[in-house]
């Protein structure tokens, strides 16, 4: 009996050596791979050890393996291989280090720019049940970069904070205890703030954790008069 296989085309590019990218085609036995990440690991283990990609937890929690898979963004460890041809590309809007591995420096810079930490108004104020419920929807973000990559505005404007940073921002704006509210609103009001967002909802579609960054951005906009 012929063994069942999956076909996968993988984006390859080494900026120090290649003038253009290419897609390398691989076949992976179905017994060795269920998800796209399984296939990539199989390729690195048994076909070409030089294939570069990030991965760690294998269960959709660490956010390492976000990439563009079969036409949409997702975590390689969460997306199942499809019969026929699979195709993976790296995240967009960020410089490629090698193959599927991109330099996320700008993404983290934007994350840090929104002051992603709680500065409490007073030492005594404790979190409440109701306030926690309000914030809850923002905490699932694993900062994988899929939304940043899908966003048109991050592509055309390198200063734009991008969806993930605004989700983090909203997490602190929603927090009753936060003392930096005015400073934060100052950041989002600015030239690279929330009003750069054109509500194209690409981020919502890209998010593997269903955070709905666009809704968070709308919520932030409502804070500004």
């Amino acid at each position: 009996m012929k063994e069942k296989i999956y076909k996968i085309a993988v984006f390859r590019f080494d900026p120090l050596k290649d003038t253009a990218h290419r897609f390398d085609h691989y076949t992976v036995p179905a017994s060795k791979a269920n998800t796209v990440l399984d296939a990539l690991i199989y390729i690195r283990d048994y076909i070409d050890g030089t294939l570069a990609f990030r991965a760690s937890c294998r269960q959709g929690r660490c956010g390492s393996c976000a990439m563009h898979i079969n036409g949409r963004y997702g975590l390689a460890c969460e997306v199942r291989l499809v019969p026929g041809q699979n195709r993976v590309r790296p995240l967009g809007q960020m410089p490629i280090i090698k193959d599927l591995m991109v330099d996320m420096e700008r993404f983290w810079e934007k994350y840090e720019a929104v002051k992603p930490y709680l500065v409490r108004k007073s030492n005594e104020a404790a979190q409440t049940y109701a306030n926690r419920r309000k914030i809850e929807k923002t905490v699932d973000c694993i900062l994988c970069g899929a939304c940043f990559s899908a966003c048109m505005m991050t592509g055309v404007n390198s200063g734009f904070h991008g969806p993930a940073a605004f989700v983090v921002m909203n997490r602190f704006l929603l927090d009753d205890r936060d003392a930096l509210r005015d400073q934060r609103l100052e950041i989002v009001k600015g030239e690279n703030g929330v009003f750069r967002c054109h509500s194209m909802y690409n981020c919502n579609e890209a998010c593997p954790k269903n955070i709905k960054p666009a809704e968070n951005i709308l919520e932030i906009k409502k804070n500004i008069d």
Partner: protein, 581 residues
Amino acid sequence: MREYDVIIVGAGMAGLRAAVGTVKRGLKVAVITKVHPLRSHSVAASGGINAVLPQNGEAQQPSDSIEQHYRDTLECGYSLSEPEAVEIMVSRAPGMIREMERWGCLFSREKDNRIAVRNMGGATFPRTVYASDKTGHVMMNTLYEQCVRLRQNKPDQLRFFEEWFVTKLLVLNNTVAGVVALEIATGKMEIFSAKSVIWATGGSGRVYGSTSNPLTNSGWGLAVPLYAGAALMDIEFVQFHPTQLSGTHILITEAARGEGAVLLNLKGERFLGSYEDSKRNMELSSRDIVSRNIRREILAGRGVNAACVHLDMQVIGSRNIKNRLPGVRELCKTYANLDPVRQLIPVTPGQHYTIGGIRTNEKAETEINGFFAAGECACAGIHGANRMGGNSLLETLVFGEIASSGAAEYISQKHVRVPNKQYFENAFEDEKNKISALLERKGKTRPAEIRDRMQAAMDEFAGIYRDGMGLVEAGKIIKELKNIYRDDLGVDGKELRVNYGLIDAIELRGSLDLADIIIQAALKRNESIGVHFRNDFPSRKGRPRHSVVRLQKGKIRIHYLPVRDKKNLFDLLPSVWKAKR
């Protein structure tokens, strides 16, 4: 060469907590990590963190106490725990939760605003603080946020070296001197000199195949200090989590059983009731017992598809699942196409936690001056022969903090002599040559082939049930694999830059050595205690004792040390475990 007061290797929960602690003490700190801090596997911890919380002036559960937490931990660890370390950990627990809370950590809450607590196996009272079933993720974000804040306020004091891979720990005259590390993206190697090094590299589960550990937990984190002269303690104690989603590496958190889920065999019976050791506490028996009895049930032919048992979460109710265990539901949907609200989950035990590790005392000090270890990679003897759920996150925070105060004290009190430049240059050249030599290997065996065979041997012979013959067999296999590694290993890429194949090959050496050590230590311990179960020696023997492993001229040396007496461990009355159902 880069110079720091403290180098922290690893940026999971213990590493980040140590970073906060050392920076706050005014030290100049570098955190070196193989992956971005938020990609560390601490983010996958789901269940929660144990602490007896005084709220409104009283313990959350009126009859619970810090002392009870202490007793539960010792009992769960079969009295192989170091009492002093446990006492320090449980007494500092409430403070750690308060601190996290101040930093903005979003723990789950009761409607009256108290921090919510849940049941975990082995605990007399519900005292596990959680954030739905994403506790690790939420806590890691909080800790990283604090690091970002510190870095913005004190840019000279804290620097992260992300995606740098540590290849060697430098030790001269039994005093730590720094590390050699490789920047993955550029292939640049550098020396980091430091007065003190805090090791926080996490678990080593990938020496097994069936594990919920991430790709990064290869065992290299234990091998590097071992090569530099550190000792490992209780390394034969490997915890298997009862409920790994069958056929995958996905863990179904113990919190599911804490919230009321039950285990069923092929006939739909709650089979834990038919075993003597799990009769009383059923699904909330300690992990070693549940794992063993699941395996027994499967071996007796009452498993589902002869490979797993069922976890029934439907009894919890769909509302509770959605509110308290949303992550479990997501995982089941993504990886098994099933919805636990309506369906049974096939589960089987899998490697989960490395109880043993770098030998430390209750101050997180190792035997090497200035070298500290905290978290899963360390072994202060807290978990004894079996770890209680919810104590590992607690350990990372408490000992991350203790290591930072220890490092600060070490640097301030002792006149730390930094080796001369020549020493560093020689060490650097030496390490560089070693790695270049590895790149030039022309063998035909891929690292993954060796790794797969090692994992298969460990799964089969060094798992939940072990016996002398099997362990000897496993030892032979590992020896053969070490020979293949030495004589016939091949690495694909020929450069240092972005070469994960090379990193796999480097780490594999550590995995093989660690696997060998686990096997030898398991073979030498002729008794069954906690997670270490020998079919050929099914009962425990004499006083509890720790195994200590060192490498001497490349040879594994094992000796034993008694557990230090503090309080009269053997007089502990069996506590009455409250059966919830």
